[in-house]
Amino acid sequence: MVKLAEWRGKELFRKYGVPLPIGQVARTPAEAEQLTRSGTVPLPCVVKAQVLAGGRAKGGAVRFANTPEEARAAAQGILGLEFKGETVKEVLLEQKLALGRELYLSFTLDRSARLPILIVSAQGGVEIESVDDAAIARIPVDPFPGLAAYERRRAAQELGLSGPVAASLDRLLSALWRLFQQEDAELVEINPLAVVGEGLVALDAKVIIEDDAGFRHPEYSDIRDDRTPLEEIAREKEIAFVQLDGNIGVIANGAGLTMATLDVLKEFGGNPGVFLDLGGTDDPKKVTEAFLLMAQAKPRAVFLNIFGGVTRCDTVAKGLVAAMDQVPPGERFPLVARIRGNNEREGIEILRAAGITSIPSLKDSAQAVVAAARGSA
């Protein structure tokens, strides 16, 4: 999930022909002053923190400026701010427009219908989750013929637009649909989309690119998500790794089994903190890497719960044993193992040779690791 900052989303909007306010990014207060003084960004202007979280206006991360000095001051006040865990490194300066109605518009995926869906609401400018369902129109789009003219007309009707503004919407929707498809977006959202005179202007831009389409979009490879440093290392090593508040580390394979393991640990009073999903790996080195990554998260106890399919039990056991030796003595932790499935017997044997007993029952093994975490507290 590659979330683009507003200014990067707007760069895409510009490329595809979605109308925008005149604006530019600044990384220092001096730059903000210069952009407005030179007229590159007309005054009055809006100065917006470039963070991914919503609710910027309420949170003081959006300010206004009538003069270059005010633009500088606004940038000064916002840059470096901590906003919902993100540090503001960029501000976007944009001309302030005389706005009419504010609308909501997005393209995303409707999983149930297996179709892209165009969502519009005449009640823009607020979080779409807070809008009454009856005020939201959902227009499914077939990917074969693509977004049809009648669907664009329906969107205009739902938004209460007609005449030149409806014509502007028609062009905007065609542009946004192309962006959604060609950029492999999971979500393209404009909120608010403002009526300005007889046209429309995208005041915000939220674009999320699908991770899996990365092979088609090397241009997004530099974009980091809101990950912890360990999560980032895991991502580079292509290990699914999630860090939370608990103290039990879980190494499992497959999303479903990982979640089920979590459910069982919670049931017995455990507090899982790190989940590491080996997925379908069959490479002992990767298992070793994953295990060492787990060690860095300093869990009180670790639960290895593997059901061998593509991943064979002996591979995991080998990787695990290799990793154990590399963990510094001071950082070691109790380990409860449960390995089942393909090559189960061989795996169990390898673990036994290293002094680890595999407990076949999920219930028993989960209880054991919860006890171990308590014991080592």
Binding site: G256, M259, G280
Partner: protein
Amino acid sequence: MTVLVDAATRVVVQGITGHQGTVHTRQMKLFGTAVVAGVTPGKGGTEVDGVPVFDAVREAVDTTQANAACIFVPAPYAKDALIESVDAGIRLAVVVTEHIPFHDMLVMYHYARSKGTRIIGPNCPGIASPGKAKVGIIPNVVFRPGRVGVISRSGTLTYEIVNGITEHGLGQSTCIGLGGDPVVGTSFVDALPLFQADPETDLLVMVGEIGGTAEEEAAEYIHGHVTKPVVAYIAGRSAPPGKRMGHAGAIITRGRGTAESKVAALEKAGAQVARFPYEVPEMVAAIAARQARR
């Protein structure tokens, strides 16, 4: 035919010369499946584990009368591989490949559908009917022929639960791993009627996950159409909201698709919902025992 596969199933493995393709060709054969052909462009004329390799699916179908495909080709080429199968007249395509962009999968799904080809997957363990055929990667060891139908969105969790059923002395009619991606070729709602109609299935196990609304839709379908007993389990009841658990199917979005809403919907539809995976085989065994007594 049990559900979708049977002894007449003839499998062509796309991407057979890759590591996974080779390993699972062997496993499918060990399961008793008629793996009749493999396809890897440029490797035509060779063999993998005694299976002839062709350059194109059309050739494979013409020569071996393959009617089902198992796709292992890497994500960037998976869409093309599927289109090739569809155009060659393959009616069942199991897409094991993971990380296929959903925009590609949308094209795959709608194209296959318009041509009458059923997709299982992507990013899925596939389908197996013990004693008949397996198309996919579910470990052979977990199975035993029987009368429990299993439909699951998970991978390894499916193996875990199938294995549990087998350890309880029961067996499976057919097991389908649907895959947990945002767009799947076959959903619970698509699979349920097949098991309801299958004379070899007496009861059903449904393994769901948080995220999406596939389980809620399944519950609606069960309510009106499924008369066989259903045991369900939903993974992720304790998952923290908004964090991904490994694939996009496991994001909790906007309060919809929570474990609570899924469990409630399924219970309302008359399904027995297990709280933990190890409860599933117990519930199944109890129902099977009652059915045996009748």
